[in-house]
């Protein structure tokens, strides 16, 4: 009996051997950004929230910026300036400036994927302009930059922006015949704005999909459950709210050069219509016209975009990966040679289910 109790006591006391970290004594890094200075020199900025007294309820952000030669050097440099040990567990956003992204972010990805303390759901992004400026900027929202940027990305990926985070990017980064993409964001006065999609080839950024094509890209990548699709104002501006979309990839394997068929089916309703040349909304023919109009718009946008992908040798749609999974003896080098000339047929179908409650 006695011995049992000794064992129990031992267990209790032995737990004290592990070092304890208290939240107050850690500098919790929430946002992290890197700028390109010159070759082999980078500038890193971290954002650490400073929680004020309970009554005041302010959240200030402490930003540390250092120049460093490598990533390892960077964390040492930051540690030198920080009064508390840095903690990466709550990291929510990592940003790279465009120049750095263009020169390759492989090293950064390696560090992120290795660290067990960093979550897989964190957001990555490419910044048009200086990352330091963006992180250090003061914004109207009463929240930290990290939360602000994270909120923007979360919100947009629910709607018009294709889903991407660290995991998605790593998935594409390692996969053969699939390239990753990241949100392309920009600071505008006292706001931050997503202005497009930065496309990568491996770890290097190669081009940008501009704002008007982003939704088309999302339609080609995943099933969209909500999103807004405005139409060019030739026949009066019309807005469509997407309620559902369907996506199907097919490969014609029989020939030497594979042929891809992408079938997109969009369902939605009209929620905005500024009549200019439109006669009347009651005409049943109008809905059909609009459907064709949207269809042509989406198809043109998709064709243009895919042609650009092929020109830039980047494959965010994962055509190579699909081919690899459906064809025996996939030859990566041969595929890369073929890719710019591979025919990709996009077939869009638009179905408008309603025009709202007023005529």
């Amino acid at each position: 009996m006695n011995r049992k109790w000794i064992c129990v006591l031992l267990v209790i006391f032995l737990t004290g051997c592990q070092q304890i970290y208290s939240v107050e004594d850690r500098a919790i890094v929430q946002i992290l950004g890197y700028d390109y200075v010159e070759k082999d020199v980078l500038k890193g900025t971290v954002g650490i929230p400073q929680y004020g007294e309970e009554e005041v309820r302010t959240v200030e952000e402490l930003n540390l910026t250092v120049n460093a030669e490598s990533l390892k050097d960077f964390s040492q440099q930051v540690e030198k300036e920080s009064s508390k040990p840095l903690s990466m567990g709550k990291l929510a956003v990592t940003l790279y400036n465009q120049k750095l992204a263009e020169s390759g972010i492989d090293e950064f990805l390696d560090v992120l994927s290795r660290d067990p303390r960093v979550g897989r759901n964190i957001y990555l992004g490419v910044v048009d302009g200086e990352v330091q400026e963006l992180i250090e900027g003061k914004y109207n929202q009463n929240e930290t930059t990290a939360k602000y940027v994270k909120g923007i990305m979360e919100n947009n990926m629910q709607r018009n922006f294709p889903k991407t985070n660290l995991h998605h990017f790593l998935y594409a980064y390692y996969a053969e015949g699939l390239d990753g993409f990241l949100p392309y964001i920009k600071k505008r006065n006292s706001h931050i704005q997503i202005s497009g999609v930065a496309l990568f080839d491996g770890g290097k950024m190669v081009s940008v999909v501009t704002d008007e094509d982003v939704l088309t890209l999302k339609l080609l990548l995943e099933e969209v459950k909500e999103g807004a699709l405005p139409l060019s104002p030739e026949m009066g501006s019309v807005g469509m709210e997407i309620t559902d979309s369907n996506l199907k990839y097919e490969v014609d394997n029989s020939k030497d050069i594979p042929e891809f068929d992408i079938k997109v089916k969009v369902t939605g309703f009209i929620n905005e219509m500024k009549e200019q040349e439109l006669e009347s909304t009651q005409t049943p023919g109008l809905v059909n016209d609009l459907e064709t109009e949207f269809k042509n718009h989406l198809k043109a946008s998709a064709d243009k975009m895919i042609a650009k992908f092929q020109e830039d040798q980047t494959d965010p749609l994962g055509l190579g990966n699909i081919l690899k999974n459906r064809r025996r003896n996939f030859d990566k080098e041969k595929w890369e040679e073929q890719y710019p000339e591979v025919p990709v047929n996009v077939d869009v179908e638009v179905k408008i289910t309603g025009t709202g409650i007023s005529l």
Partner: protein, 371 residues
């Protein structure tokens, strides 16, 4: 009981026996250990996303071996020690039994050391292993001296407690893409077999039946439960692998050391941001019965061989485990141990068909001789 088994005298008093149904839990918890936390990368190494076929192949192989095991044990009516004594004589047979005992110790060591590695990498990088192992082994010792029935009970708790973890597979399925997982069987049979061999480490454990067979109340009635246990393991591995293939890209898998734990990382609840900590903590319930069973098997053999005191043997084996754990202290060695155990386990499994043939011939000849 027939004449032969009466002679061997492996009679266990009824209060130490377990009902046939528990064989399901014993077999299953002996098989599922640390392997499942990171086997996705190993099996995909040779045949990529096609390696789910290898899991089924390995599963069929294990079912076959289980059938042989039951056949051997039914013919002899005893356990491995008496079989070895009958077939190979006192000294050579005893030597073989002793090797099996050491093999079980090796299994325990692999599981314990690998799990400590997981704790070091994922939760406490600066943990003092010497203390942690000590506490852990005290727990193991406490459970094993409680006897086979206690360990069996713990196995059941472990299976039931960790079953809800399977529900978490929902998260990676939600995130992952099925578009790239198309069943194109492009790997050759050799590649698939290589993957199947790599899966074997995760399936090791059925050989423990050699030792605990006399502890089953109506041994032959447990056959279906044992097969059911193996089948359940195969199902779980299959589900785990498929989910990993949905979540990771084929090349990404090569860069992931602990596939299953990394999957837990994306599980997010409002009240907990990092689920892997809970997952790893819960996994102790899988590890403990696993090591307990191996230790019990390891210490049971010397008892049958030399009538040694089993408690003393457990103390000795725990001490050996403790010392070895302290010496094996870096990632590479852990990796090597896993490969080594996998190799040894593979040969132990191959020994089963061999023994099957030998015993078939042996008992046939003996029966003819006697009649």
């Amino acid at each position: 009981m027939n004449k032969i088994s009466g002679k061997q005298g492996v009679q266990i008093p009824e209060q130490f026996l377990v009902t046939p149904m528990f064989v399901f839990f014993i077999i299953h918890s002996m098989q599922v250990g640390v392997g499942i936390l990171g086997f996705e990368g190993y099996i995909a190494e040779h045949s990529g996303f096609d390696s789910w076929i290898s899991i089924i192949m390995a599963g069929v192989f294990i079912h076959l071996l289980l059938w042989m095991l039951y056949n051997i044990l039914r013919d002899s009516g005893g356990d491995i020690v008496s079989i070895h004594r009958d077939v190979f004589g006192k000294y050579i047979g005893g030597f073989f039994s002793l090797i099996l005992s050491i093999y079980f110790l090796l299994l325990a060591l692999t599981v314990l050391r690998t799990f400590l590695e997981v704790i070091q990498v994922w939760i406490f990088p600066s943990i003092r292993i010497e203390f942690f192992t000590l506490v852990f082994l005290m727990l193991i010792y406490y459970l094993v001296i409680g006897g086979f029935r206690l360990v069996t009970g713990f196995c059941m708790i472990s299976v039931i407690l960790t079953l809800p973890l399977l529900l978490l597979k929902f998260f990676p399925i939600d995130v992952g893409s099925v578009n790239y997982l198309y069943p194109a069987i492009e790997h050759s049979l050799t590649d698939l077999l290589k993957s199947a061999k790599a899966t074997i480490l995760s399936f090791l454990g059925i050989e423990l039946l050699f030792v605990f067979y006399p502890f089953i109340k109506h041994p032959q009635r447990s056959v279906k439960w044992a097969h059911f246990g193996v089948f359940f393991t195969v199902l779980i591995y299959l589900a785990t692998a498929l989910v990993a293939f949905i979540y990771y890209s084929e090349e990404q898998l090569e860069h992931v050391t602990w596939g299953t734990i990394s999957l837990w990382k994306i599980v997010e609840f409002p009240f907990i941001e990092r689920f892997e900590y809970i997952g790893i903590a819960l996994w102790v319930y899988v590890i403990v019965p696993n090591i307990c069973l191996a230790m019990w098997g390891a210490s049971r053999i010397p008892k049958r061989l030399f009538n040694a005191n089993q408690k003393l043997m457990i103390v000795v084996y725990c001490a050996i485990l403790y010392i070895l754990t302290l010496f094996l202290d870096d990632r590479e060695i852990v990796e090597k141990i896993n490969t080594f155990t996998s190799q040894v386990g593979f040969y132990v499994l191959l020994y089963i068909p061999l023994l099957f043939v030998i015993t078939k011939v042996f008992y046939k000849v003996r029966n003819q001789h006697e009649s």
